[in-house]
C-alpha cells in the first residue's frame, strides 16, 4: 500500500495549479475579461491536457488537473473535451473538437460545435445548438441540435470504466471548488475585523472553517481512491468507488461553499463575492452523473 502521488503527478499538479492561478478568474468581474479567457484557452491548448487519456494518462492524472481547475474556477472547457477524447480514442473516432453531452445537454460547450455521448455502450455524436444561460458561471452549457449519430461501440467493461472516470473527475472538480471556496473564506476571516479583532479569531467562525478543512481532507482521500480505481480495479468496483467519492465530495463541497458564504456575511450573499461562483460550480458538478445515497450498496465491499 502506497497511495502517494508520484513525482511526475506532483509536477502535473503544480503545473495545473500555476496555470489556474495565473489565468483563472480572480474576481467576479474577471469572468467577463475576454482577453484573459483567450489567453487561458491558448495556454490549455498548449498543455495538451484535453487529450490526456489519448496520451495514456491515468484517471489519477486527469483528476489532478480537474481538481486544480476547479480550485481556480478555470472558465475554459476541460472535463467535457477530456472525457470526449477518452470515448473517441476507444472507438477509433476523431475526438478533436468534441465535448460531452450528458443528461440532454452539452457541458463545457463554449467554442464547441459537436458533442459525443455514451448511451449504454454506444458512442454517438451530436451537433450543438445555442449556448444557454446556466447555473455555473464558469462553464457553458449548450442545447443539442439535430439527432445523434452512432460512431462506434464500446464493450461493457470499457463503458463502465468511462463512467467511473466521469464520476472520479467530477468528484475532483468538487474537491477543487471546495478547496478554492475554503481558501477564499479563510483569507477573508483573517482580514475582516469586528469588535476590534479578526473574525477568524473567534471560535464560532474558526470552528466552521476547521470543519470545512476536515471535510476537504476526507474528500481528497476518497477521491484519490476513486481516481486510482478507474484504471486499477474491476469496472464494477471502479464505479462503486466513484459513486462513494461522488456522494461524499458533493456533500462536502456544498457544505464548504455554504460555509464560505456564511463566513463572508452579507457580502457573501452578493453577486460580487466569488463564494457563490464556487457554490454554483459545485452544484453543477454534483448534478453531472449524479449519485443518490440509495445507489450505494452498503453490504459491500
Amino acid at each position: 500500500m502506497d497511495v502517494r502521488l508520484t513525482a511526475e503527478q506532483r509536477q502535473l499538479r503544480d503545473a495545473a495549479a500555476k496555470l489556474a492561478d495565473d489565468l483563472g478568474p480572480g474576481s467576479v468581474q474577471d469572468l467577463a475579461d475576454d482577453g484573459r479567457i483567450t489567453r487561458l484557452d491558448k495556454q490549455i491548448e498548449t498543455t495538451g491536457w484535453r487529450s490526456l487519456r489519448s496520451d495514456e494518462a491515468s484517471g489519477v492524472e486527469v483528476a489532478i488537473v480537474a481538481e486544480e481547475f476547479g480550485r481556480g474556477l478555470v472558465d475554459a472547457p476541460f472535463l467535457g473535451p477530456v472525457l470526449a477524447d477518452d470515448l473517441a480514442r476507444q472507438v477509433g473516432a476523431d475526438g478533436t473538437g468534441s465535448t460531452i453531452a450528458v443528461g440532454g445537454h452539452a457541458i463545457d460547450a463554449r467554442g464547441y460545435q459537436r458533442a459525443l455521448t455514451l448511451d449504454g455502450t454506444t458512442v454517438s455524436a451530436v451537433d450543438l445548438g445555442a449556448v444557454r444561460a446556466a447555473v455555473d458561471l464558469t462553464r457553458a452549457t449548450a442545447d443539442l441540435a439535430g439527432t445523434a449519430v452512432a460512431v462506434g461501440d464500446l464493450d461493457s467493461d470499457a463503458a463502465e470504466r468511462w463512467l467511473a472516470l466521469a464520476l472520479a473527475t467530477t468528484s475532483a472538480d468538487l474537491v477543487g471548488t471546495a478547496r478554492g471556496a475554503h481558501t477564499l473564506a479563510c483569507d477573508y476571516a483573517k482580514i475582516r475585523e469586528q469588535y476590534g479583532k479578526s473574525i477568524g479569531s473567534y471560535q464560532a467562525v474558526a470552528h466552521l472553517l476547521a470543519e470545512s478543512l476536515a471535510l476537504i481532507e476526507g474528500s481528497v482521500s476518497v477521491l484519490r481512491h476513486a481516481a486510482w480505481a478507474v484504471d486499477e480495479l474491476a469496472p464494477a468496483e471502479a464505479i462503486r468507488a466513484g459513486r462513494v467519492a461522488k456522494i461524499y465530495c458533493a456533500r462536502a463541497a456544498r457544505t464548504v461553499c455554504e460555509t464560505a458564504i456564511q463566513v463572508h456575511g452579507g457580502i457573501g450573499n452578493t453577486w460580487e463575492c466569488l463564494a457563490h461562483v464556487y457554490l454554483r460550480r459545485a452544484l453543477t458538478s454534483a448534478e453531472l452523473w449524479p449519485v443518490k445515497l440509495e445507489e450505494i450498496d452498503v453490504g459491500l465491499p
Partner: protein
C-alpha cells in the same frame, strides 16, 4: 500509487488470517467481558507475532511500517476478534522522552503485555485545559510523594504502572512546573474507583486517588519540569492515523446493519457506509504520507475529527436499524457519543486546526 497490499503485506495478511481462524473467537470483543480479558488477549496477540508491529525492535517490536497496523486492525475486525490494545501513545511518549534505562526497563513489558499500563493525565478540574492540573509530586529524599485525583484513567484497575503527570514546582509557570513519572499502581496510597459509562460499561474508565503514593526519583521521565512536551507527544499520538484504526470495525458494523435491513438501506445507514469507506482510504493516505517522513502533529486533529464524525454516523445508523430495544446496537450508539470527547474534545481539535493549520489566530 497502489491501494492494494504489496507482496509482503499480502503474505502478512495471510499469516494473520490463519492465526485468527484459530484464536479470534477465544476472546470477547466488547463490553466488560472484553475489558476483563484484555490483558490475556494482548499477550496472545504478542506471542502470535502480531502486536507491536511498528515499534522498536530492541523493545520487542518489529519495526514494520505503520501500514501493518492497519492490516492488523482490518483483519481483527473481519474475524470478529477484539480490537488491538491501544498503547501506541504511551510507547511514543516513553520512547521519545524517557532515558535509555527507563525504556529498557519498561517498554518490553508494556509491549509484550506482561505489565499493564494506564495514563494519569486528566483530572476533574483539568480536562481540555490539561496544564491546569493540580496533582502534586513533592521530593522527599530519593522519592517523590504524590497527592491528587486523576480521572478517565483507562484500565486503571488492572494497571501495574501509570504514566503520571504531576506538578513538581508549584512556583513555576503552569506548563513549566509539570513533570512525568512512572508510578506503581500497586501500592498503598493509590485508590481506585470505577466509572460507569452511559452504556453501562464499568471496567474501561476509572478514577484514581493518589494520597501519599511514592515514586522513586529515577522513575522521573525526562528532567523535572519537562513533563509538558511528553504530554503533547502522547496526546498527539492519540490522534495518529494508525492509532485511529477503527475504520475496519465501523465497516464491519455497517455490513452487519445492512444484513439486518430488509429492503433498501436507510439514509443514515448509507451515509455511514460512505463515510466509513472514506475513512478507510483516508487512513491509507495518511500512513502513505508518513513514508515521506511527514509526521502528523496538528494534522492528527483533522483525522480525529473525521473519525469522530464517522463513528457517530455509524452510531446513528445502529440506532436507525436496531431502535432502542437492541442492547448491543444501543450500546454501540451510546459509546459513540464519547468519541467527540475522549482524546481531546472535538472543540479542542477544531481550535488546533484553526490556529495551527489555518493560522486564524484563534
Amino acid at each position: 500509487m497502489d491501494f492494494r497490499d504489496s507482496h509482503d503485506e499480502a503474505a502478512f495478511r495471510d499469516r494473520l488470517r490463519s492465526w485468527l481462524s484459530l484464536h479470534a473467537k477465544e476472546f470477547p470483543s466488547s463490553g466488560d467481558e472484553y475489558w476483563a480479558r484484555q490483558g490475556e488477549w494482548h499477550r496472545a496477540l504478542y506471542e502470535g507475532g502480531f502486536f507491536g508491529l511498528s515499534w522498536p525492535r530492541e523493545y520487542g517490536g518489529q519495526e514494520l511500517p505503520p501500514v501493518y497496523d492497519v492490516i492488523l486492525d482490518e483483519e481483527l475486525a473481519r474475524a470478529g476478534a477484539p480490537p488491538r490494545p491501544s498503547l501506541g501513545y504511551l510507547v511514543a511518549g516513553l520512547s521519545r522522552h524517557g532515558s535509555k534505562e527507563l525504556c529498557s526497563r519498561f517498554l518490553p513489558g508494556m509491549i509484550n503485555g506482561t505489565e499493564r499500563w494506564c495514563q494519569g493525565f486528566s483530572e476533574p478540574g483539568a480536562g481540555s485545559d490539561l496544564a491546569s492540573l493540580t496533582t502534586t509530586a513533592s521530593r522527599e529524599g530519593d522519592n517523590y510523594v504524590v497527592h491528587g485525583h486523576k480521572i478517565w484513567t483507562s484500565y486503571s484497575d488492572v494497571a501495574d504502572w501509570c504514566l503520571l503527570l504531576g506538578r513538581t514546582d508549584p512556583g513555576a509557570k503552569r506548563h513549566r512546573g509539570i513533570s512525568a513519572f512512572i508510578i506503581s499502581m500497586k501500592q498503598p496510597g493509590v485508590q481506585q474507583r470505577p466509572l460507569q459509562m452511559i452504556n453501562g460499561v464499568t471496567t474501561e474508565f476509572g478514577q484514581v486517588f493518589f494520597d501519599g503514593a511514592t515514586v522513586p526519583a529515577e522513575h522521573l521521565v525526562g528532567a523535572p519540569g519537562e513533563g509538558w512536551p511528553l504530554a503533547m507527544t502522547v496526546v498527539g499520538h492519540e490522534r495518529e492515523p494508525s492509532t485511529l484504526g477503527y475504520a475496519a470495525r465501523y465497516g464491519k458494523l455497517v455490513r452487519e446493519l445492512a444484513a439486518r435491513t430488509d429492503g433498501p438501506a436507510s439514509e443514515e445507514l448509507a451515509w455511514a457506509a460512505v463515510q466509513t469507506e472514506m475513512l478507510t482510504h483516508h487512513v491509507r493516505r495518511r500512513l502513505s504520507e508518513q513514508l515521506d517522513g511527514v509526521t502528523h502533529t496538528s494534522d492528527g486533529s483533522l483525522d480525529k475529527l473525521l473519525m469522530t464524525w464517522v463513528e457517530q454516523s455509524v452510531g446513528h445508523a445502529a440506532l436507525s436499524v436496531g431502535g432502542i430495544d437492541d442492547p448491543g446496537l444501543l450500546s454501540a450508539y451510546l459509546y459513540s457519543r464519547a468519541q467527540s470527547v475522549m482524546g481531546g474534545t472535538s472543540q479542542i481539535q477544531k481550535n488546533i486546526i484553526a490556529s495551527r493549520i489555518l493560522g486564524l489566530g484563534a
